[in-house]
């Protein structure tokens, strides 16, 4: 072992001393953990609200076109002109021939409704059945006009549109128009 002079010892002590850097000297990394927390929370929130958005769809419906002069030829050629009117006590299905009776096979003139309510609820399955019977006779027809009494709630109008648009996966009258005229 060589002999160290006091000067050399001091040198060794100085050089081998553990360095504690001043915080300002440390190469700092940004603490991104709080930022990450915010992002994770935002994603959770967005995902939770997206679920409701994804379940929204639309029903396409046009206003009936007003025929002008001779151009009304297209309307005249329409033999059916199917109308579905939702009233307080049931649904009336009518065509250019008149109002359909219960069962939807014959035309009648009385005050009876085509598809009356079942208890307090509308019989939408009955309406679909009725309209599909009409469809069998008029296979080329695709349009239907839906209307309702002033006090009937919007949800029943939507349900009526659903009932006449298709039966399961078979389309019945997919072109739904909405008429606001008073019956």
């Amino acid at each position: 072992m060589p002999k160290f002079t006091p000067k050399q010892r001091a040198y060794i002590r100085k050089r081998s001393k553990e360095k504690h850097l001043d915080p300002s000297e440390v190469v700092g990394e940004l603490n991104i953990v709080p930022f990450l927390d915010i992002v994770v929370n935002l994603i959770m929130f967005l995902l939770a609200t997206t679920e409701a958005v994804l379940l929204i769809s639309q029903i396409e419906s046009d206003l009936p076109k007003i025929a002008k002069g001779r151009s009304s030829g297209a309307d005249v050629s329409t033999p059916l002109n199917l109308n579905v009117t939702v009233t307080d006590s049931g649904v009336i299905v009518s065509g250019s021939g008149g109002k359909l009776a219960k069962g939807c096979t014959a035309v009648e003139t009385g005050r009876e409704l085509t598809v009356p309510k079942k208890g307090a609820k509308y019989d939408w399955t009955g309406l679909t059945e009725c309209v599909s019977r009409v469809k069998q006779q008029y296979n080329d027809e695709h349009s239907v006009t839906v209307s309702a009494d002033p006090q009937v709630q919007y949800e029943h109008v939507v349900a009526a549109m659903d009932a006449v648009r298709n039966r399961g996966k078979d389309p019945l009258f997919p072109d739904v128009m909405i008429s606001v005229g008073v019956r």
Binding site: Q8, S16, S61
Partner: protein, 188 residues
């Protein structure tokens, strides 16, 4: 006999000793998990979600006054002029146009009073939107004016009120109605 003479340490000996002391110390620990890739992924997800929100039908928010009916329709909701009919007000493109009383329009706001169909403030507002959309259409043929309207209505709205709104829409040349509904089974 002479005692062995201790050799005087050189600068090389000093450095060797220093190296030995430093080498004995433990290597500093690796600090924490690297979360930068995770942050990248999260940021991309966030941007994607915000983008899909911006283009989707995100402005449909249900409340006590606005309950959307359910339907079997599977058609994706598309972008169009937004009209909201809640039980207390009618809103066009996020701007309240008139108030409703129990879901009904005040007769003084209609042309022709109680029996009238045209809601004057709504019609005036819709005319402005129609003119705006037609101006856009004239400048940009890809955005032709088709008179499309996204109608979000409370399911308890009486058909009379709905009819008056639709009539006003028709008068303002908005004839393509898109009723916004909840897909069946989506209410729960």
């Amino acid at each position: 006999m002479t005692e062995p003479v201790e050799k005087q340490a050189t600068i090389g000996d000093c450095k060797r000793v220093i190296r030995r002391i430093i080498g004995k110390r433990e290597a500093p620990e690796e600090l924490g998990l690297n979360i930068y890739p995770m942050m990248d992924m999260m940021t991309i997800l966030l941007v994607f979600l915000i983008m899909s929100f911006a283009s989707g039908a995100a402005d449909v928010v249900q409340s006590e006054e606005l309950q959307i009916p359910t339907s079997t329709s599977q058609v994706e909701a598309a972008e169009a002029l937004g009209i909201v009919i809640s039980s207390s007000e009618i809103v066009v493109e996020g701007k309240r146009v008139l108030a409703l009383r129990n879901g009904k329009v005040d007769p003084s706001l209609k042309q022709g009073g109680g029996n009238g169909w045209l809601i004057t403030p709504l019609f005036n507002n819709l005319k402005q939107h129609r003119d705006r959309l037609k101006t856009i259409a004239s400048k940009n043929p890809q955005r032709a004016f088709r008179g499309e309207v996204r109608l979000v209505a409370d399911k308890r709205t009486p058909f009379r009120t709905l009819g008056e709104v639709i009539y006003s829409l028709g008068q303002a040349e908005f004839g393509a109605l898109r009723f916004i509904v909840l897909r069946e089974g989506g209410e729960g």
